[in-house]
Symmetry: C2
Subunit: 614 residues, 2 copies
């Protein structure tokens, strides 16, 4: 029978139980972070026993608190908590790190009580900000967010993006618990047990900071109570702890990181033996979230033959989508005037989150929002999304549904120069597990794809460009993910030109020149770069016998690579040439840039002629 | 004739001249950040006139101060300073942002007085830390580092990694100048003119902080003098300024970001007209750097048939390299026990820089070190290098020579799970301009490649793995960048297996099975994934008629893509199959991981049989 654990002694007992179970799990696995679990065991025991509100039978309940192990390597402790809560059995606990187990080396959402994966340090607090924003900005749930941080990971800048965002937004439903155990992976941390060094910094960012002795249940209990009662600002509990607490062979010792203890039986004895306390965890007032309002968006239409920028169409479509759906939220990295997400902000300010120039927090906030059922779009310059690469990688491990838009892609931005040009974004997003990568060439296509992303699972990326491109599709046309458009085709075609984005109009112009030169060319608009339209590419290759790809991107990993990968496992491609940006650009006009990079109509026509003659 | 500018009036005049010249440059270009230049003009006028020590005729002099425009978009101001210093002519100033000009939209090392490119915000201060470390740790130059930061960019976590590193290292030769002009790109910044909000935070990180009125030359002058005289801690000068200062039409106005002024002639009149003051900039005591000691390293040797981890060989070779060369510096992201860079730390502690878990600062510090002539190697887990993607991207714009090592690549790490597995590192590094991407399969190869990286230009990446692999090469063998090794070959080969790293031994085992099944297979160790050995791949394809690639990486952008790209512009490849990691891994042993991913010997043999039969 689960019991209400509230006395000092019982909380201390529970802490020991969590240690023993973490030690056992690591011993069984032959690996895992026992000592990093042991330092935080009392903090988590008190949280579980008295402050967490969570219905383990209904993990989807929006009233549940959120518990994030930012120090994801302390997963044995988390799993020991789940065991104490009766959510998993002792048998399952001992499957830790084994093939097929839900109890992975670092927590992932394979477990229903884990909403976001951790294990790359410095991500838990930014993710926590995302969850906290839901309650603070979007719905009234009363749910609180608890984030267990390590001390080492406070060296990550992303953590300070989160402290800043939460502090200045007054996210009082967020509590950071910093486990200052003094020892990192390879030795002492920068600040050791100088708890005040952490406190000063966090306080300067607008947080309420409480220092505690991290193995004193009563002190911890009072700190959590204060955190819960503090309004207008988030609270950080900075706890002085010992790594490996409770077992002399490893306590506060270097060289004991990330390993099972040397003598499991002795350690368990030292910790007072095995226990099997079952804790009655407080449940939240159960909430039912209302269904979001959803209708067909009235997308903007652009006249064929006009000129418009795909980023503008994105912004206008996004705004229309905001009217049609009440669950769409938009996040900005302080460039909403450039990306055009500012259009949405004007009409839906209550669902617009300004993250300032902090791309890691930008992505993390979106991951938190989607985990709570919202439909986030985030946008910044394509180049600056590289700043959040690790967060995107981990979002895929979390199974997050994110919609990401990168504007100002490619050399075609013109005079700003290479620092502002996204030239690796296709490679980056294609190598995100389960992603979709879309690159529209005209405004109607951009609007349709923008709206369609709302219903996509996984991480979808839309690559938008700065300058105007000709409108070539009617506003009624649709563009399924995984599709392509054959823009020129005849049975006599001698070559296929595959393009996307700004290179589509260039390819069309090249096809005109080639036609004049007696070389009929097929032109494919490969707006869906991942997944890719294998069938159309293979057919075109077979029918035309030559293949040329052209992209405003480095030669590696982008459109050209996507096309070539489409022939794996089938008939091989015919002779091919890949045009891409091969030298570091400098400042120049968009036209000069395309010319210098060798991806304009003339370069395409020249390369196609050479390829056709080869 | 250059004059010594020191009176309040003349400094103010110089500030106006810098504004006028910035306005003129933007007007001529039709774009550029005039207003962001105008806010910082007085700060930079005083710096140039009285505090910077720089010999514009000898930019390589190690005694020179370093001036970094972290707010790189204020490049017109930087170029106006160069004009005032007589380094460039007024004619060249007006080439700003035009095709072929050295004066790019954001500063790059095309100009001899710019050592590192900026323009991606939040990078200048971390780079400054790198430069400051040279003086603080490696050589006595007396040179100071001045970094001009915007206020918006203090939202970037990377800036706080730098504040932390510099503050706790006591880098008193570093001065950050924060231009608090209240307005970001799309509107007010988070803290507006709350100068104290910035001061509090920076002070908490161990800096000396001075607040100044940013348009008062005397206040600024005193602040710089205090910064120069402060020992034991870096100084931040937090300056309250007005964006567009001096021109009523734009001063402190929203909507004036990143544009030329509406009326250039009127603006110049308001600013007091054109001036052509030439400033005598103080020169440093000229220094000549001694040549580093360089000899052939005595690399470790591993016995053929033994087993060893490539990460271990990296660490041992690096240590040997440290003995042979006095210019090699190693940087760690708090994982030196795992990456084995800790071996170097033990023998060469004076050239080992601990950056803790702050991968952006890790890369930025290395970029600063190499700009001063040092030969940095940095290492962390391959997965966590994604954290520094934007810094690597910009390092390529800077033309930096960096040696980067990512350990624990791929699913073969085993039980730790996907958060710790580098599965996109090949795609990321291949899409870094001018990079080399190396992936050794055995210890001798790893040692040779590690040593060879010291002499490579550009950004080179070595992918190392956690577990032991069989030693298949002798210690005397060499492995040129751009090469490959054909491990099995006969005139009867019916298929070519291309592998690297842990998939090489798997491919060799698969070849054994295939031989038993009557399918002779060629095996290529593609240790140089970029540049790639096009000739060997094309020959093998032609001779064997089937191609199979296998990699411990996502299917996109890695080894398979490199192989396919090698056929561009030549004869097309034959039928091919690409084996890679296609589903999100979980915890399991290394062997189970390779099996589940379908990249072990059995999977290779199966796929090869199917391909050979197709």
């Amino acid at each position: 029978m689960p019991e209400a654990v509230s006395s000092t002694d019982r909380m201390a007992e529970l802490g020991q139980q969590l240690r023993v179970d973490a030690v056992r799990a690591c011993a069984e696995a032959g690996s895992g972070h026992a000592t990093s679990s042991m330092s935080a065991a009392d903090l988590m025991a008190v949280l579980l026993a008295k402050h967490l509100r969570y219905d383990f039978d209904a993990p989807e309940d929006p009233g549940n608190d959120e518990l994030i192990f930012s120090k994801g390597h302390a997963s044995p402790l988390l799993y020991a908590m789940f065991t104490a809560a009766g959510a998993i059995s002792e048998d399952e606990l001992l499957t830790f790190r084994s093939d097929g187990s839900r109890l992975e080396g670092h927590p992932t959402p394979r477990l229903p009580w884990v909403e976001v994966a951790t294990g790359s340090l410095g991500q838990g607090l930014p993710l926590g900000v995302g969850f906290a924003l839901v309650t603070a900005r979007l719905e009234t749930t009363g749910s609180r967010v608890w984030v267990l941080c390590g001390d080492s990971e406070l060296a990550e800048g992303s953590v300070w993006e989160a402290f800043e965002h939460a502090g200045t937004s007054g996210l009082d439903n967020l509590t950071a618990i910093v486990d200052v155990n003094r020892l990192g992976q390879r030795g002492p941390t920068r600040h050791g047990w100088d708890v005040d060094a952490y406190s000063r910094r966090i306080r300067a960012f607008g947080w309420n900071v409480i220092e505690v002795e991290g193995h004193d249940p009563d002190q911890i209990d009072r700190a959590f109570a204060t955190a819960t009662g503090t309004t207008g600002m988030p609270t950080a509990i900075v706890a002085r702890t010992s790594k490996g607490k409770g077992v002399a062979a490893v306590e506060d010792q270097e060289g004991a990181h990330g390993k099972p203890l040397p003598d499991t039986e002795e350690a368990i004895r030292e910790l007072g033996g095995r226990r099997s306390m079952r804790v009655r965890v407080a449940r939240p007032e159960s909430l039912r979230r209302g269904s979001p309002r959803r209708s067909e968006p009235k997308l903007p239409g652009y006249e064929v033959g006009a000129e418009a920028a795909t980023r503008t169409a994105f912004g206008e479509a996004l705004t229309a989508l905001g009217h049609a759906r009440s669950d769409v939220v938009v996040l900005d990295g302080e460039v909403s005037d450039s990306t055009r997400s500012g259009y949405f902000a004007e009409e839906h300010p209550e669902r617009f989150v300004q993250c300032y120039i902090a791309e890691q927090q930008l992505v993390a906030a979106a991951v938190g929002l989607q985990a709570r059922g919202w439909v986030p779009y985030l946008a910044t310059f394509a180049a600056f999304l590289t700043r959040a690469h690790d967060f995107l990688r981990m979002a895929a491990v979390s199974g997050a549904n994110l919609r990401v838009v990168g504007s100002h892609a490619g050399v075609s931005i013109g005079k700003d120069g290479p620092s502002q040009m996204g030239l690796e974004d296709l490679a980056m997003f294609r190598a995100v597990a389960g992603s979709a990568v879309l690159h529209p060439c005209d405004a109607n296509q951009a609007a349709q794809l923008t709206a369609g992303m709302a219903d996509l699972d996984g991480i979808s990326y839309l690559r938008a460009t700065r300058g105007n491109t000709p409108v070539i599709y009617g506003p009624e046309e649709t563009f399924p993910v995984g599709g392509s458009r054959v823009l020129r085709s005849s049975p006599e075609d001698q070559i296929t030109l595959v393009a996307a984005g700004v290179t589509v109009p260039e390819a069309l112009r090249a096809a005109d020149r080639l036609a004049e030169a007696g070389i009929p060319a097929r032109v494919i608009d490969l707006y869906s770069i991942k997944p890719v339209d294998t069938a159309t590419l293979r057919t075109a290759a077979e029918e035309t016998g030559r293949l040329l790809t052209v992209e405003d991107h480095w030669p590696q990993g982008g459109l050209g690579a996507a096309v070539l990968e489409a022939f794996a496992g089938g008939p091989p491609p015919p002779r091919y040439t890949t045009l891409a940006v091969r030298a570091m650009p400098a400042s120049a006009t968009p036209e000069e840039q395309l010319r210098h990079a060798g991806i304009d109509a003339e370069a395409i026509a020249d390369a196609a002629r050479a390829l056709a003659a080869s």
